[in-house]
Amino acid sequence: MIIKKKYDVVVIGSGPGGLAAAIDAKKGGADDVLVIERDVELGGILLQCIHNGFGLQTFKEDLPGPEYAQRYINEAKSLGISFLLDTMVMDVTSQRKLFLSSRDFGYVEVDAHAIVLAMGCRERTRAQVRLPGYRPNGVFTAGTAQRWVNVEGYMPGNNFVILGSGDIGMIMARRLTFEGAHVERVLEIQSYLSGLSRNYVQCLDDWGIPLQLQHTVKKIIGKDRVEAIEAVAVDNKWNFIPGSEEIIPCDTLLLSVGLIPENELSKKAGVLLDPVTGGPFVDEHFQTNIPGIFAAGNVVHVYDLVDWVSMAGSEAGRSAAEFALAEKARTARYIPLVPGKNVRYIVPHKLDKQALEQGDIHLQMRVTRPIEEDVWLEVHGENNRIVRRSERYVRPGEMVTIVLKPNMHAEVEKAGSLTVDIYPKSEA
């Protein structure tokens, strides 16, 4: 693969939002679409969500996460989209320039006419829910445990307590049970389930795993490894109810306590974030406050169904393609002004060919060295002369002006660039 300097649409992240965005950007007319993924393969978190329940809306089928991802991966590959794997986006600017660090290509800079942010979200960790006690081994987020058990083939422990009744926590309760572990209990600080009811039924109830609402972890016990947790009942304001403490022996505590949109890169590009969702403020096309930067999926707000993430990605991708094509058409009208013989610089540096229809354009420049005899000042395209006039001399200290007139428009239209040469008539 050869990395281009500029892409029509660059998508950051290859989860369901990013893949749908890339596919619809390509279908929407964007020629060069690049997906950047930090993992070694496409698909994002769906690859570790091996349980079924995905795609009921999109495919009218009950699919496991990896197969849902596989369908989008296959489609994206068939469309000729470019992929850069094992690559981190280190910085993004509001001018839509991206700075990458890639295992195969090293440090890379690329420009984009439009960008789709599809970085997804992160799990809330122990530090963010402020669990007191020692910091022993054996405290994991549910998603980390999911990655270990479903992809990498490690068991995080034998005896589990799960804090939080989010979907990933409940799904992991069942999954760990399948793999021979014992799940003692699920604790939920709120008075209601935070995940889907169907997951309560098929993940907890089916396996006799007790759910305690209005309970939380007061303290983690154990110095090198978790030995137990101290559970406690809470009131409606989440205050501990004294006397309700219970020591539950376990060797592992899983946290399923919410997800936060991942927007470190968005902030670097100047994208404004909604303090309520943690994701960018967007319009109906998922465009952020920065023109040409779009965002889709869990990076905007946390969804509970992947089908909706894909829908959001499609809209963002289509809109990004539309923006990119308009931007390309606008920049395609520009031609550069090239300093030729004895010209140090020219202002302006480029011009919009259509602007010449509106009136005169003054090209101002300085020469590199003095010529104390009659000279030609000449503007030409690759194959045609636009204008030529004479001066009695040129000197670096005296600015030279050449005027392009509306009647030169037809000739300028033929040129891909304009070069200015200043040379003695004796050499002509």
């Binding site: 070694v40 393969e41 698909g43 690859l47 091996i50 349980h51 079924n52 329940g53 009921l56 009950d62 496991p64 996460g65 990896p66 197969e67 991802a69 596989q70 058990v149 479903n150 992809v151 990498e152 083939g153 399948f178 889907l196 009811s197 169907r198 309560y200 039924v201 098929q202 089916d206 509970d304 169904l305």
Partner: protein, 125 residues
């Protein structure tokens, strides 16, 4: 007449179902909002079924595990037998998504299939 109540797991809506029974026979399903819900209610009252997802060992693949699932639902009481059958299997990379890993798992009439492609990766990559 007896009533059983369930939460439907056919889709994420989680409808509350009431199934009226006469002995072992379902008389009526209430509370569903779609055809699948009614089917689920009838099935759940008589002989609960579940789809199962797990992993099998894969040799020479990008990852050490290949995710697999049952192409249809299997009787709930046979889950541990299905899991044991899945655990006994080892496959070689490469694998294609939907490739059959265990045909007709423990005689249930349901195939266990691969959830994704698993590319082959040689050592040292």
């Amino acid at each position: 007449m007896e009533e059983k109540s369930f939460i439907c797991t056919a889709c994420p809506m989680g409808c509350k179902l009431i199934v009226r029974m006469e002995g072992d026979e379902v008389i009526k399903v209430l509370g569903h909002r779609c055809k699948r819900g009614e089917t689920y209610g009838r099935q759940e009252a008589i002989a609960p079924q579940r789809m199962i997802a797990s992993t099998v060992r894969v040799v020479g693949g990008l990852h050490p595990l290949l995710p697999v699932y049952t192409k249809g639902s299997i009787p709930k009481r046979r889950i541990s037998d299905v899991l044991a059958a899945i655990r006994a299997v080892e496959v070689n990379a490469p694998v294609k998504a939907t490739q059959v890993i265990i045909p007709n798992v423990i005689g249930t009439g349901v195939d266990v299939i691969a959830s994704r492609d698993m590319p082959e990766v040689r050592d040292g990559n």
